[in-house]
Symmetry: C2
Subunit: 88 residues, 2 copies
């Protein structure tokens, strides 16, 4: 893995699309409300993040690999809470 100028954009992108899920985690945590959130969206997104992680490792992209590791954790939390609270 090498570091160059384009990685700056990748890292800003990675930070944004990763921390973006934090306010959603926080909102569900507070309200326990998940009705308007699509379960199908998070199931497909979770699958996609797993593939991004494999892709990031294969192309030796630091941004893609790091971002998707953290995103996987956050998306798993949202998915877990969606399944847990959806009948309430």
């Amino acid at each position: 893995m090498e570091f160059n100028f384009s990685e700056v954009f990748g890292l800003i992108a990675a930070v944004c699309t990763t921390i973006a899920f934090v306010p959603q985690v926080w909102q569900i945590w507070k309200t326990k409300k998940v009705d308007d959130i699509s379960l199908t969206m998070y199931l497909i997104f979770f699958t996609g993040v797993v593939f991004w992680l494999i892709y990031g490792i294969l192309i030796k992209s630091l941004s893609v690999t790091l971002a998707n590791t953290v995103t996987l954790v956050l998306v798993s939390i949202i998915l877990g809470m969606k399944i847990r609270y959806r009948d309430k």
Copy 2:
């Protein structure tokens, strides 16, 4: 841009994290309900997708560039509907 084995994983990832937003768009379109969706999440995510797009072009990654172009459109629709329906 070159095509190799790792791009297969990238393309599967790209397809998943892009089409994932379609069921969310559809659900909001049907219900007009957006209360449980975090506006902050989509504002930060939108910013991130713009940076992923720039990154994809810079590193000449077909998967990253294509995926984020479509994701930008879908996330913009969700963001637009969130802002439009949030007071209803």
